[in-house]
Every structure is written in structure tokens, then in C-alpha cells.
């Protein structure tokens, strides 16, 4: 049993507890996903919309000879459409069966954090966010919300039922 140390440097040096997160942004907040779950950061991609698809589907992009379904993170959080240049990440679930993309506003960089510093979701969180978020890290710049790629899987989101509502259907 290791004693929690207050010193940030030694926290990170402690290899067992160190986690490298890739930071990304949507709206004004920052989010982090374990880098081991990220296959590739594609950068800006022109998304092909899929009519009649659930609102959280950002569209499809060609990726290594496959058609990658992407999840629009802003739509998941109920935010309006991003007007700037988006960024697509490719995520993969553990068994490697389902590959999907995540559309965010921008990707920051790799941040090392200590696993033990994770704060649980507050009880006041709305149900959708509670379902998506996996706690938060206190960073010098503000909170960084950890995301669980497993929960962002399109098929999982469709099952969850929380995100069923179709956006006005007229986005193009």
C-alpha cells in the first residue's frame, strides 16, 4: 500500500499509478481519454452525414479501407454544432471488434496524471453526463473530465436510450 504523496512530480514518477491521457476539447471544457485506447488522431475530416441516423452520429469517414462511423461528442452533450475545424479520433474497444471515430473540436496533447487523483462524478450531474463521464482530474488549468471509450461506442450509445432523440434532422 503506497501512501499518497502531495508532490505532483513524484506522483507521476510512480509508474503503477501513472496514466497518460490524451486531452481534447469540446466547447469550453477539456476531456481526457486513455492514450492506449486511441488508435489514431486523424485531424480534420470532411464528415459524410448519414440521413435518419441517431443524432449522436456525426457521420462516416473513410478510414484504412473501411467506413468509420463517428460519434459527435458535441451532440452527445447537447451542444450546438461546431463552426470551426473539427478533429476526428479513432478509438477501438478492447477486443478490437468495433472501431469508431469521435468528433471533437480540437485535440490538445498527452498529459500524465496519477490514477489516484481521479475524483468521482458529483451526484448533482445530469443523467446523460453521469453516464458519459468517468470522473475528473484536477488540473492546474481546470478540471479535465475522463471519458470511457467503451461507453462512447455507437452501439452502446444506441442501447443506452439516453441519446435516442433525433436532432431536428435537418442538419446538413
Amino acid at each position: 500500500m503506497k501512501i499518497l504523496e502531495r508532490d505532483a512530480v513524484s506522483e507521476i514518477l510512480n509508474e503503477d499509478d501513472a496514466v497518460s491521457l490524451c486531452s481534447m476539447f469540446a466547447g469550453s471544457e477539456s476531456y481526457g481519454i486513455d492514450t492506449r485506447k486511441i488508435r489514431e488522431v486523424l485531424g480534420y475530416r470532411d464528415l459524410q452525414r448519414v440521413p435518419m441516423a441517431p443524432a449522436f452520429i456525426g457521420g462516416v469517414v473513410p478510414y484504412r479501407g473501411e467506413v468509420l462511423t463517428t460519434v459527435d461528442f458535441r451532440a452527445l452533450l447537447g451542444m450546438g454544432e461546431y463552426t470551426g475545424v473539427n478533429c476526428v479520433l479513432v478509438l477501438e474497444d478492447e477486443v478490437g471488434e468495433e472501431r469508431f471515430g469521435l468528433v471533437v473540436d480540437a485535440v490538445g496533447g498527452v498529459v500524465m496524471v496519477n490514477r489516484n487523483m481521479l475524483e468521482a462524478n458529483p451526484c448533482t450531474l445530469e443523467p446523460r453526463a453521469k453516464w458519459l463521464f468517468d470522473g475528473a482530474y484536477k488540473m492546474p488549468t481546470g478540471l479535465m473530465v475522463q471519458l470511457d471509450p467503451q461507453r462512447l461506442r455507437p452501439s452502446r450509445l444506441a442501447e443506452a436510450g439516453l441519446f435516442k432523440c433525433r436532432s431536428n434532422g435537418e442538419q446538413a
Partner: protein, 714 residues
Amino acid sequence: MDDLTKEFIAESQEGLDRMERCLTELETRPGDGEQLVGEIFRAVHTIKGTTGFLGFERLEKLAHAGEHLLGALREGKLAVTSDLISGLLRLMDGLRAILTLIEATGSEGTRAGDDDTALIEELAALNVASPVVAAVAGTAASAVGQKPTGAAVAPVTMSGNAAALSDKTLRIDVEVLNRMMNLVGELVLTRNQMLQSGVEATNFPELARRLDSVTADLRETVMQARMQPVGNLFGKFPRMVRDLAQTCGREVRIEFSGQETGLDKSLLEAIKDPLTHAVRNAVDHGIEAPAVRVMAGKPSEGCLRLRAFHQSGSVVIELADDGAGIAIERVLAKAVERGLVTPEQAEGMTEREALQLIFLPGFSTAAAVTTVSGRGVGMDVVRANVEKVGGSVELESKVGVGTTLRLRVPLTLAIVPALVVRSGGQSFALPQSALVELVYVPKRDEEKAIERMAASELYRLRERLLPVVWLDRLLGLETRDGEDRHGFYMAVLEAEGCRYGLVVDDLLAPEEIVVKPLSAVLKEIGLFSGATVLGSGMLALILDVAATAARAGVKPVEEVIEEAEVVDHTAAAEVSLLVFEDRARERTALPLDVVERIESVSLTQIEYAGGRPLLQYRGELLTLRDDGRVLEELEVAQGRGAEVSATVLICGGAGKEMQRMGMVVRRVLDVSGGTLLERDAASGEMELALVKEKLTMVHREFSVKAAPAWKEVA
């Protein structure tokens, strides 16, 4: 499950497949039994040997009992009897069941139900009870033989499960794999060169060309690796037919040809169920009971012929029986009884149209529901499954002579010809196989072109009403503003018997597209069968034509009703004519509804047989009619070295009792309405009409054959 066990299962299943083939063959030709028995013995022996090593005791015990019996058979101590074959088939089912269990659970099962003692005893009894003198086989053997006839249907479903593992694995010739590896190596090399030289380099075009050829080769090799002989699929049928024939009390022989015809593995899987269903149907409904056959002057043994062959870019699988055929009156009566058509409609139907009714959901002509068929799933499932992979189904039948079912499937699933269209600012691909024709409606005609009946919109296409579906509205896309519209295009599509016009904003190029599967969430939408990357690098969704029809509420039966209406319409004296020039300076016309398509054909595509020009057109051989000797002129032009193409009108129509044919013309002039004048007695097969105040010859003989309603006019 470890790799060793997996491999063992795949290998054993293959061995059992071989055993199945040999067993049925052995029954029909006991004469050359030695080699066949040897083969069967080897299959069982291999299983026994490997199981002992892997520690599957139950399997080993059963295999051992079988091996013992087969050993006696091989040494000539036993005679081949029907009971013996049945016993061996049950041994095979037993082995297969255990293998399936191992595949599913990883163990061979030790529960009370998983006991093989009865089967082992039966095999032992067979070993004793049927000595060389078959006549002695008397009581003991037949007692054993009668018991399991009730269970004879079960193996059919079981063999379906057994295929699970082999569906996922594929045996590839090492040669092909090596070639693939070489090509991949070359691909990497080319890429390296490209990276080093950069876009500006002088040899860049050459590298691009190399890349192109390597990719093409690689694609071809991969396709080749996916090809499987159709015989793999056929191999399951002798056993099935044998069992079915026994349960239904029929005598059936099955014959194959073209087993070596290659077909993409995924397609082979896709047609497995429809074909199995069709074979089952043929044995149960097609072939009559032996007594009935003899009465009809046919041999008591019915014959089922399965044929596979290539025909212009697709593979045709033909299932023919020499049974009772389909009685049109019964089909019509049944359709009326089921409420699929009204009695009046049934009255006016041609034989071909009536046969198409069989493909409607909820149709089954089986007089009684038997264990084998007549359970409500019918030919509609067969057709839906085949159409899902871009194929088509044809049915021909003659009462008393037999029925022929033809499944036509594309060579490969992965690459399909498609037309790319735009609607609501997005690109969509429509499979060419579903595309019948394209109609352009310019802006000025937009208002008149679409007619309304309550909320549904209709388009009058050559006096046939066609339901209209707006793609952008159906998908909830942005509709374009009125200002910049130039009109719209309508793609006339046909799938699963539904014909409708799909309105799109624009047509892009026809392309050979590579189909990519969509993720589960997007598949659930149910309107798209996949996506594809276009030449421009953009993605386009592939529209599922049948599902779109269903979503828009287009029903297959509506088609029939419309056709009944059309007959009244065409009786009017004013008719639409396609005016063209075939002889020099002479205007000739054909009624527009007999012309299906106008094709521009390269002269080299036109072939000659017995002095008559022929054209291979979409898997059909069309006779070309060349009244104006246009072809001769074109030949001369080609002799001068010019690239020449001929304009061919494809005539004849769906649902009409007539062979399609092509008509070579000099050029097409116009489509317009005209009034028919008195018949010109001198010109015989031609008659005169007034089209836009000009005298025009109309092919009369042709029109009479093609459209029955024409007679009233002529």
C-alpha cells in the same frame, strides 16, 4: 478452445462432408464400393485417431464403433444394404452432433442425453445382422432400420449448424497466397519509391501507373482466393434429397453439372438457404409420388438437376425437376383466396405474371402443410435473399413436364456497378441491377409531370402510373430552393417486385463501386446497404432499393393493379411513338411502350451467327433487326479505321409475352404523340401514322405482338 481443437473440428467436418458424399454415392452405385468404402473408412479413422490424442472419449468410442463396422464392410464381410447406409448416416450425424457440441461448448458433453450407447449397439447389430448374403438380413436388420425413420428430418437442420466453423475459415491454395504476398511486397516497394521521388518527379506518372496495375492484380488475386467451387454447396444435397424423398415417399435422383463453377464465398453462403429451400420444395411439391408418375407415363424415379454455369458476368444456378409443374389455375385460385389479387385481375393475367405471384409473401400452393414444406415461408424468402445480394430469380414451369428455377447471382459481392446520384447535397449510390431507366423532367414540365391522388404522387411513364418517391423528403434532407433548380431526374427502380420512381436532384457518373459494410448502428436505419468511397475520395451511401420502397410504402401488389389500368389507357387512338430513321430519309416509328431502352453499342460487340446479327445484352441473347442495313454501312466506316458504335433500340417489355429483340437504327429522332391512319395494304407489316403532321411508318407486326390492346386500333 485451442487452435489444435479448432483445426481438428474443421478437418473432421470436411472429412464428414466427404463421407456424406461417398455414402449417398455408395447407395446408388454399390458396384464401385471398394474405393468409396475406403474413403469413408479413412474419414472415420482419422477422427478416431485424433480424438484419442485430444482426449475426447465419447467421440472416440463412437468413432471406434463406426470404424469397426466400416472395417468389416471394407473386408467384404458385409453387403451394402439400405439399412447399413442409414446406420452409417446416423453414425455420421452422431459424430457431427458431438463435433458441434465441442465447437459450441468446448467439451463433448457428459449429460444423460448425450449417450451414444443405443447408436453403438445399433452399429454392432448391423455388423452381425447383415452378412454377405443380403437375403438373410431379415428381421433383425429391418427392425433396426425402421425405428429411426421419424427422425430422418432432423439431420437437415443439424447440418446447418455444423457449417458454423467452416463458414468462418477458408482454405486457400498456397500458390495464391504467395502471389498475394508478392503483390503486397511490390505495393510496398512502389509506395517507397513514390515517397522518395515526390509528386514533382518526372517518373511520377509511371509510378502511378505501376501502383494502378499492382492494385488491380492484387484485387484480382484476392477475389480468386475468395472463389469457391459451387460443388461445395451441392455436396450437401444428395443426403438431403435422400432423406426428404424417404419422408415424402418419393423416388428422386439428383444430378449435378458445373460443380467447378467458382463463386464468391460470401455469395455461396447467401444462396445456401434459398437453394436448400428450393430443393426441398422441388422434392415435396414438384416431383409426384411414384404411382402418379407411372400413371403419367414417366419413370417412377423423378430427376432433379442442379446446374451451375457462368453467363455474362453472373453465375446462374438452375434447379430443374421433371415433376408435375405448376398449374396456373391453382396459383390464381390460391392468390384470389389469399386476397393477393382480385378475381378480375386474375382473369387478365398472363402465364408469366401468374407465376410471379408465387413470389408474393404469404403464398404457398402446398395443399397440405407437411413436415417438409408449406409452413408459410415460401418463395418470397428465396427471392428476397437472392435479391439482397444483387441477384434475381426466374421461374419457368410447364404442367406435366416440370419446373425450372433459375437463381442468377453476380460473380462477387464486393464490387458492383452503380449509378451515383445527388440529393439534398449528398451523394448516394443506386445499384445498377435495380435501375430500370432514367427520366429527366425539366423545370418547365415539373408542375404537370407529377400527378396527385390524395397525398401520393404519381408519374405517368408511357401511360403507366408510377409511384413517385422524393429521396430528399424521405430522408429528411434539405430540399433545394426553387431558384437554382434546373428540374429533376427520376430513377425508375425495381426491386422485389416493387417499381417506383425515385426523384433525385442530379445524376453523377456511373461507377464500379466497392461495397463497404456499415456499422451496426447505421445498419439499423435499414435504408442503406453499405457505403462506398467514390473516385473523388468522398463517401457515398448505397441505397437499399427494396427497403426504400418499403419505407415509402410502395407495395409489390400495386404494380399488378396498375397494369390492369394501363390496358384501358392504351386503347386510345393517340399513341406515343418513338420516331427514328432506319432506311435513308424514311421516318419510321415504334410504339414507345415496346421500347425499353436505347443503347449505343460498339460495333465489335455485335456478333454473327448463321448470318444473323446478335447482341449479348444483360445476360440475354438478342436478335438484331436491321431493316435499313445500317450495320453494313457502319462496317464500312469501321473499315476506314473509325471507332463506330451502332444505336440499338431494345424492344419487348416486362410482363409481356414476347421475346426481347434489338432494332438497329440510323438515329433516333423524337418521341411524340401521333395518330394512326388507315393501314397501308401495300406495305404489309407496316402502317402509316401522322406524327407532327409528317407521315411516318409504324411497325405494325411488332406492335400487335407486344401490346394486346393494340389490336383494337389496327
